[in-house]
Symmetry: C2
Subunit: 392 residues, 2 copies
DNA sequence: AAGCTAAATATATTGCCTGAACAATTATGG
DNA sequence: CCATAATTGTTCAGGCAATATATTTAGCTT
């Protein structure tokens, strides 16, 4: 019915093959023509042609110095040309826009984080324009710290604590973020020419966790991002779940669904446990106190931990019943202390679900969302590499 | 890391373009060269070349009789060649393997159902071999009713009431189906050369409902298949959710998760409501009586209906929180009577979730799984059309 | 019958991959 | 130290598939 994308012209072949070649080079430090032949199935002639293309476009680089070290097998024959990713051909931004603080991180095309910066908002209810100003400032600082500038940015991933649909839009009716998203993208586009990819923070956390967290390489992964609120980021078969309006994983109402009063739900417990809302610092102290008291044998503290464990187990079991992930990762402000709860949660799970997932705690700490935002931006850049223009 | 599929050779272009052309012809009754040009973006020359290719392979047919009727615009110019799908170039099977009964349906490439047959198992605990015999017999009968034969079958979709992973495998450890799946596929492959695509029945129901049910065209759709058990089939962004081991949507444990004793959960209520397990006939009678009594004002019956509505609403709300579908369809044995509950359920939903989906009842009745199985098989055939050999 | 128009065909050109022949460069073994 | 084997790089004809442009065809109009 719809006018299909575009006809498959001979150029498409080059695009596809170049993607394959570039993808392999990205994954392997240095690549030789022969290696590329083996992994892409292309002829040597084609591989070389593609590589020259990629060099011309700036995505890869040829290593001149045929290094003396040739470890392992002392190979005969003419030495191979060696290609590597030009990891500084461009950079991506990963932005975490929280309720109280915004953090930006800059990474190169390999994903190495080169600069970071953050700033707290003056108040919780500042207007959108001011919020955008802060985001812009934080990004510029991070870029400066990374030793690069706005013109080198190929894409920016940004996470907010609201439902974001597949196209990066926020339901205007739902949150005050609704006004924010369009403005943010427009502003950064106009100021710097950036493409901003907006996503839900828990979804980004899932991407980050699969990339460089405890869910490395797991394709069916759920991340519970517990902090000011409880949100889930869901990867199924390696793809993010959004649902109709981006609200997949939004379980703000779940306490009620679980038949528990809101004063007793996960969110409330977490809040009560890590002190009343707001900043992370104060909260951590309070959480630590509970854990310390529990360790000392305080019965009240132990009871709180038990209830938290059971609540967590129930939430995870519900996720397991609907999504059936291989692994569930607990991340966010709560993660730091959640390790102690793992044995209890794991032990409870089989009572609530037939398919208990592995449960772990995120090692990424505060960087979980920015990490995912970087990965999100890199995914975009990698998928569109041959359409993007490198400004060197 | 993995040896990538295959190099993109010029042939790929033809494959891609042929897919596009065939896809459009499939969707449009009769197509002209000009129409194909518009919708694929190809040149006329290419379109014609592709069409001749497809004719040679047997997938499409050229209409000779340039019919007198040329409605609407009495067009000038040379009359266009007209192509149509050769819908009888092959057939697909849709099989519903229930606990008590197996049903098979045969459809042509347009999805028109041409034959149907079903048979009940002698007993619930017959060995796998006998079960496979029944399936085979039912299929052959359906093919005969459709006026075709086993050699014309391009693929068979089959649904069972157990978790099936993305590759069509059943977890051996989990159900007695675990032994069944391999045997079934091997047997039908050997007997007839069929490719059998095994899937979870609720997943197939979702495909069927989106194809020809009340969820037509909805990409984020959940089907609750309520009968002997309660299972959910989830489509997100048009794709089936499986999870790690195919257990996505398996909420057998949900009554416990919901904090309700198993004697009071949805499954039990449904069972109690539609009489004790087993056949559909007896169950329906009992369900009807409850509804009749409720209509007559019987307070006990009304109370049951209220509890069912609330349970349903809670389940749907939980689905909504995690998956955020646009629509939830109630299907299976319960569907027939569920219409009365819809207003109540819909009214309750906003209390339990911030993103209440539209809720409807399936119009497909008993055919919901076979319909989905047909769609599943057609999806496979359409995706692999150019690799399949038509035996004419 | 002449003219118009949209569709089909014919021909030349281009992009991209393959395959085979040929050239280059190193390790190894006498 | 030189010949040989092994490995990689380079070049060029050949084929497939798409585009672009010009030419022909088939039906309708007047």
């Amino acid at each position: 019915m719809k006018p299909t994308a575009g006809a498959a012209t001979p150029r498409l072949l080059r695009r596809v093959n170049a993607q394959a070649v570039l993808g392999f080079i990205r994954s392997t430090d240095v690549a030789t023509g022969t290696g590329l032949m083996a992994h892409t199935g292309l002829t040597r002639a084609s591989v070389i042609a593609v590589c020259e293309d990629l060099i011309r476009r700036g995505w890869i680089r040829e290593l001149e110095a045929r290094d003396e070290e040739r470890p392992g097998n002392p190979r005969k024959g003419r030495p191979a040309r060696r290609f590597e990713l030009n990891s500084r051909a461009g950079f991506v931004l990963g932005i975490d826009i929280g309720a109280a603080t915004t953090t930006a991180a800059v990474a190169d095309l390999r994903g190495s984080v080169l600069g970071r910066s953050s700033e707290s908002f003056r108040a919780a209810d500042i207007p959108a324009a001011e919020r955008i100003d802060v985001v812009d400032r934080v990004c510029r600082q991070a870029l400066e710290a990374a030793g690069t500038d706005a013109r080198q940015v190929l894409a920016a991933g940004a996470g907010i604590a609201a439902p974001v649909d597949r196209d990066g839009n926020v339901l205007v009716t739902q949150h005050f973020w609704g006004l924010f998203d369009v403005g943010l993208r427009a502003a950064l586009k106009e100021l710097h020419g950036w493409t901003v990819l907006l996503e839900n923070d828990a979804n980004l956390a899932a991407l980050g966790e699969r990339w460089r967290g405890s869910g490395a390489g797991v394709d069916d992964l759920v991340v519970l991002l517990a902090g000011e609120r409880l949100g889930a980021g869901v990867l199924e078969s390696g793809r993010l779940l959004h649902g109709r309006s981006g609200a997949a994983g939004e379980m703000g109402y779940l306490d009620m669904v679980e038949g528990v009063g809101s004063s007793d739900g996960i969110a409330s417990l977490a809040r009560q446990w890590s002190a009343a809302g707001g900043g992370a610092a104060g909260g951590t102290v309070s959480a630590r106190r509970v854990f310390a008291d529990a360790a000392a044998g305080d019965p009240a503290a132990l009871a709180i931990l038990d209830r938290i464990s059971e609540r967590m187990a129930r939430v995870i079991a519900t996720v397991a019943s609907f999504i059936n992930p291989e692994q569930v990762v607990i991340g966010g402000a709560v993660a730091e202390s959640a390790g102690v709860l793992l044995p209890g949660i794991t032990a409870l799970l089989p009572r609530f679900t037939a398919t208990p997932p592995r449960v772990t705690v995120s090692p990424l700490g505060d960087a979980i969302v920015t990490m995912g935002a970087i990965r999100h931006a890199l995914d975009y850049v990698e998928a569109n590499a041959l359409e993007l223009e490198l400004r060197g």
